[in-house]
């Protein structure tokens, strides 16, 4: 109870994210309706006893689509965050450890990518690669890895000067051991904070790409696709946009709160 009062963001964000994860993992097992089953007589039906969140323009059950969409949208977002983080850590960490000319060259290249607006890069890549889940992941990853590379490089450069790392080096620890035992655990906190905020940003970017018709191919129930499809019926069936809109909003809220809470937690521990 005490810790909740001290860090309400962490508690609220953690609960929300855990809830969303549970929906994404177990939801499809609990909701019996098929998210792709077309049932034209029920097209645009409002929320009711049989269809809790109503039906879309093809009579597909909105609850089932939201729940399956959680799996897709959150899955894509976490995958993109994990891949961006790995690439960024490899490149940023490698640059920091190599130092000198390599470091300089890598950082200049990253500056150029960063000078390019991230969302535009994702749009251009998605447009050229074509619609599809894997291409979507590539486009979104291209947008995000540079941030991690910069962060990891900066953190490692500053950690390297700390006494405990110097002590380990003086004791004869090899670079690989130094990296795994001493440097990576030290940067885990800030990287976790950035990744948590990152997931929220990716969820919005994924929805935006789908909205532009550049995301996962339409029958796929991503929240962005649903928002886009609902747009045409916003006057007659506003529940088609409300459901995915609220789902996206709650997810972003959850990850932002969790990120805030984690940042507070790390800040206090340091």
């Amino acid at each position: 109870m005490n810790s909740i009062r001290r860090n309400p963001s962490l508690a609220a964000g953690g609960t929300l994210v855990a809830l969303l994860a549970a929906i994404a993992i177990f939801g499809p097992l609990l909701v019996r309706a098929n998210p792709d089953a077309i049932d034209l007589p029920h097209a645009l039906a409002g929320p009711g006893a049989r269809h809790w969140l109503g039906c879309d323009s093809l009579g597909r059950d909105m609850l089932a689509r939201i729940v399956w969409g959680a799996r897709l949208s959150l899955g894509v977002a976490t995958a993109v965050a994990a891949i961006s983080l790995s690439i960024g850590t490899l490149i940023g960490g490698g640059a920091a450890l190599a130092g000198g000319r390599v470091d300089n060259l890598v950082m200049r290249a990253i500056d150029v990518v960063l000078a390019f607006p991230g969302f535009l890069l994702a749009i251009a890549l998605a447009a050229i690669l074509g619609p599809g889940l894997a291409d979507l992941v590539v486009a979104l990853t291209a947008m995000g890895w540079t941030g991690y590379a910069r962060l990891v490089r900066g953190e490692i450069l500053s950690l390297r000067e700390r006494e405990y790392v110097e002590a380990a080096r003086a004791l004869g620890a090899r670079p690989s051991r130094l990296l795994i035992r001493h440097l990576l655990p030290g940067i885990a906190g800030p990287v976790a904070v950035q990744a948590t905020f990152g997931v929220g940003g990716i969820i919005i970017a994924e929805a935006a790409l789908s909205f532009l018709g550049l995301g996962a191919r339409p029958p796929a129930p991503t929240w962005g696709n649903m928002l886009e499809a609902g747009q045409a019926f916003i006057l007659v069936a506003p529940h088609l946009t409300t459901a995915p809109g609220v789902a996206i909003g709650l997810s972003v809220l959850g990850f932002n709160l969790l990120g805030d809470g984690l940042a507070q937690l790390i800040g206090r521990r340091r």
Binding site: R108, D111, V112, V113, A115, F116, P117, G118, F119, L120, L121, I123, A124, L125, A127, I128, L129, G130, G200, I204, A207, A208, F211, L212, G213, L214, G224, L227, Q231, I234, L235, P238, T241, P244, G245, I248, G249, L250, V252, L253, N256, L257
Partner: protein, 306 residues
């Protein structure tokens, strides 16, 4: 100051060249053949070859790149395939609309953020703080894809106060500007609050109060000015993002700007036009970042320009 500006402009050259090269590489090197995408899978080989030749895609990649740079230096971005007009002309027709929307979005963000941040920062922990910051968290979380249509329903369709879509007078700008600016407003309001809370405890604030200034006067005259630096930094960092955020806003409100031109070009597989739009966005982003960086250094004399 002038030497600093000159140095920054000089440093802009390699960055701009990098952005140009990246744009070129995106269109020409990423797998996926624009010609077969344009003509479809069942096009006759002769047609494909002719199209490749017409677009200059049958030349070696190095030659294409040099040609691209040469054209760029002469303000020539090629010919749009779907609209049969020079890409440069199409872009220059649409770009002012995007600039107008972006500027309005920035203004809307500031108009929302400052009252919220001031209310929250002046009385941290109070009801105003809770309300303002709750609103800010909502603002960050609601995707503008959803906020836009929501605003349209309430203010255009139900209340009939504002036009639904399109570009026109000031009234047409209000809803798109709010849609575009809300996320930034939320971030800025939070930063302003945090910055104000820190400033309130400073020695010069105690001096101002002991001099007999009211709380409000001390806050506005002394606190706000000092709390502004991190806020300006943040606005500078985020202003460029407004430019690309406008793409979505333009699609929602049928705003005739560069973003809609880009998406239409993508849907038409009009690669020269896609390339031109991407390049214009990216270079504007670089320039916006340079300008905001410069403004923020000019605003705070403590930041040395060296």
């Amino acid at each position: 100051m002038i030497r600093y500006l000159a140095r920054r402009l000089l440093a802009l050259v390699p960055v701009a060249l990098g952005v140009v090269t990246l744009t070129f590489a995106l269109i020409h090197l990423v797998p996926g053949d624009p010609v077969s995408a344009m003509l479809g899978d069942y096009a006759a080989p002769a047609d494909v070859a002719q199209m490749r030749h017409a677009l200059g895609l049958d030349r070696p990649i190095g030659q294409q790149y040099i040609g691209f740079l040469y054209g760029l230096a002469h303000g020539d971005l090629g010919q749009s395939i779907s609209q049969h007009e020079p890409v440069a002309r199409l872009i220059s027709e649409r770009f002012p609309a995007t600039l107008e929307l972006t500027a309005a979005g920035l203004l809307a963000a500031l108009l929302i953020a400052f009252p919220l941040g001031l209310i929250a920062g002046a009385n941290p922990g109070g009801a105003g703080d809770l309300g303002a910051m709750g609103f800010a968290i909502l603002g960050i979380s609601v995707p503008h894809l959803y906020l836009g249509p929501l605003l349209m329903i309430v203010f255009s369709l139900d209340l009939g106060w504002l036009p639904l879509t399109g570009r026109g007078g000031l009234a047409h700008l209000v809803l798109p500007a709010i849609t575009l600016g809300t996320a930034l407003a939320a971030i800025v309001a939070r930063m302003l609050r945090q910055s104000l809370v820190q400033v309130v405890g400073a020695d010069y604030m105690r001096t101002a109060r002991s001099k007999g200034l009211s709380r409000r006067a001390a806050l506005i005259r002394h606190g706000l000015r000092n709390a502004l630096t991190p806020v300006i930094t943040l606005i500078g960092l985020e202003a460029g993002a407004l430019l690309t955020g406008s793409i979505i806003t333009e699609m929602i409100f049928s705003w005739p700007g560069l973003g809609r031109l880009l998406i239409t070009a993508i849907n038409n597989r009009d690669y020269p036009l896609v390339e031109g739009c991407v390049l214009t966005f990216a270079l504007s982003y670089v320039i916006v970042n340079l300008v905001t960086d410069f403004l923020y250094r000019a605003a705070d004399p403590r930041i040395r320009l060296e």
